[in-house]
């Protein structure tokens, strides 16, 4: 059986109707651990394998089999706990959670209800107040606990033949979330909560929670009550509906798992001298090997490159974008503060328009750096550079230099050439100081953006004063 965590985030936010209602939302997040074998057995963990091919006798709950805990899963749980600022419980316990379902052959799931491996953490995140990413607000959400838990199998419902097909491989979705929602008036006790399942994306999560809050408020304001039930989110209709199979509040009859002793974790201080180190999970050792967490990475980017905090968020939120940005920096003399504009405005918007990931970009960091160098060297104007970028995006294998030559985008630096062009333009319009800027614009248009605007202005002013 593959293993999962349960993260419980309570959070609190306000909105007003007739009397103020306070919604309370808790999320139960199931995340599959990246490991070779399952939490309690040596079966392989693999996506989309033939049904029941990754199932051992224990996974099939055959009598006489026992769970054996996977060390890698324990380490993963500790790492997650540390990354989320939790207290790690040096002694945690396993429990059985009983319920009947076709994909749960034992009739119970082994989990960590009472004393899980990590508790009382937090996660900070940032929200944009407006759409322009210019006003960011930091929020914190509490994490109640992180626990190791067995996954149940997969059921395929065959309604035509009135049967359910069961695959005990597990290892299906890597991240699942259930939302718990209730509402109450400030100062009063929490309301009855409902559990919402079948939420398949972050966007649907937001919709499901919003709908459920609204539904509960309407029910309560109409004098009805909220049932402590499980509901399913219908993504097509954007609403939640009661789930057929669930019969009100479940009594899971939690009991200690009799086949597993308590899980003991150590740190540098409590490490026993003579123990086989394969049997030891050392929290401090894991802590030292944690990679830089996002908040640290962002701070480093801001400090090293002088970019804005909101830029660092975008860089980190897109897979591979930070690396791309840093690669370009290495290959160009353009300042990072200018490079970031190209990365976030040009590259990223093209990627989004074409639904591409950074690693699928037809423009490599090498090519972009080359282009930016030409811009820095004043070989082309920034308008021309954008045109070159558009050409590069076609991925025809041409270099910026080749495109510049082909489209005749070089900046005209020659004084005499520019003089002649300016005279021609001025012949069309009468010399008038007020239209100086308009004239510059005209010159630019005539020369298809290739003239150096600074030079043009100087020439025009000279001409006008003659």
């Amino acid at each position: 059986m593959s293993s999962i965590f349960k993260l419980y985030f309570p959070s609190l936010f306000f909105f007003f109707s007739l009397a103020p209602w306070v919604p309370v939302v808790g999320l139960e997040i199931h995340a599959q651990i990246s490991s070779n074998s399952k939490l309690f057995s040596g079966s392989q963990v693999q996506f989309a394998a033939p049904p029941n091919s990754l199932v051992s006798f224990f996974d099939a709950s055959l009598p006489g089999t026992l769970p054996v805990l996977n060390r890698r899963c324990v380490e993963a749980a500790v790492m997650t706990g540390l990354a989320l600022n939790c207290s790690i419980n040096k002694k945690s316990l396993f429990d059985r959670k009983h319920y009947f379902y076709a994909d749960l052959p034992a009739g119970y799931q082994i989990t960590q209800q009472r004393v899980p491996i990590a508790v009382n953490g937090s996660l900070s995140y940032s929200l944009c107040i407006d759409n322009k990413m210019s006003q960011m607000v930091t929020k914190t959400v509490r994490i109640k606990q992180i626990q190791l838990e067995q996954d149940s199998g997969k059921s395929l419902h065959d309604d035509t033949r009135s049967q359910t097909l069961v695959d005990l491989n597990r290892a299906e979705g890597q991240l699942r979330v259930d939302a718990n929602v209730s509402v109450h008036h400030p100062g009063e006790p929490y309301g009855v909560r409902t559990e919402v399942k079948n939420i398949n994306s972050i966007r649907f999560l937001a919709k499901a929670v919003d709908y459920e809050i609204q539904r509960q408020i309407e029910e309560l304001e109409s004098g009805r009550t909220i049932l402590n039930e499980t509901r399913a989110f219908d993504s097509k209709l954007g609403c939640t509906v009661p789930m057929r199979d669930k019969e009100g509040k479940q009594d899971y009859r939690f009991m200690p798992e009799p086949n597993l002793p308590p899980l003991i974790l150590y740190d540098a201080k409590s490490l026993p001298a003579n123990m086989n180190h394969q049997q030891v999970v050392n929290i401090d050792w894991i802590h030292e090997r944690l990679p830089d967490l996002p908040s640290v990475k962002r701070a480093k980017l801001v400090e090293r490159y002088g970019i804005l905090p909101e830029h660092s968020f975008t860089l980190l939120n897109e897979d591979g974008l930070t690396e791309f940005f840093e690669d370009v920096i290495k290959q160009t003399q353009m300042k990072p503060k200018k490079v970031i504009g190209w990365i976030l405005k040009d590259l990223l918007s093209y990627l989004k328009q074409h639904s591409l990931k950074v690693k699928e970009s037809p423009v490599s960091s090498f090519l972009l750096a080359d282009l930016l160098n030409r811009l820095e060297e004043k070989e082309i104007s920034s308008t021309a550079a954008k045109q070159v970028f558009a050409e590069l995006w076609k991925g025809e294998g041409k270099t910026p230099l080749e495109i510049v030559k082909e489209k005749k985008l070089q900046l005209i630096q020659d004084q005499k050439d520019l003089e002649q062009i300016c005279q021609a333009v001025m012949a069309i319009k009468a010399g008038n100081r007020k239209v100086l800027n308009k004239l510059i614009g005209l010159v630019q248009r005539e020369t298809q953006g290739r003239s150096n605007p600074v030079l043009v202005k100087q020439l025009l002013e000279k001409k006008l004063s003659e």
Binding site: S37, S43, F57, L62, V74, S162, D251, E257, P258, L260
Partner: protein, 179 residues
Amino acid sequence: MRALGLGRWLRSAPGVGRLPRRVPPDRTVLRAPAGSPAPVPAAGRQRPPAQVGRLGRSSARSGAGGASAAPRHVTVEVLDHLEHLALVDFRDSEGVERLQKAIQFADQLHEVNTDGVEPMDSVLEDRCLYLREDDVTEGNCTEELLKNAREKVEEYFVAPPGNIPLPKLEERETFLKGS
């Protein structure tokens, strides 16, 4: 899932209890085998292990410390709830009586003064929990596993559609209604 006859299972369980004299003499003392299912007579159905210690008590809590294991009356509501949860069938008054005697037996635990003592949750608490290396060592025995299945479709186990909960008390033919 089919209900099973707990009464019949209880009658067939052998063995003598380990606690002293107070145990009623009619031999229906329960050993609660930790984790392994009880022996399966005739019908070949799955049986949940007897879990005596955690059965709900709604009525008649035995007095603080003092009285030794007074007989307990378990209400119909609790019995119905148990039948839903564990899919057991108390079948007849003898089955219910066995249950009450089992609770009475377990209640003897209350005679021990546990003030200031940490609850024990496992007799294995002094043992080391063995940690396995993250290697693939088993699985890949689909055919062997499916041999156990009464019904299969391609390589899937077949089960009835969804969950069929036990019907409510009013809708069932059960002796519990009469009590």
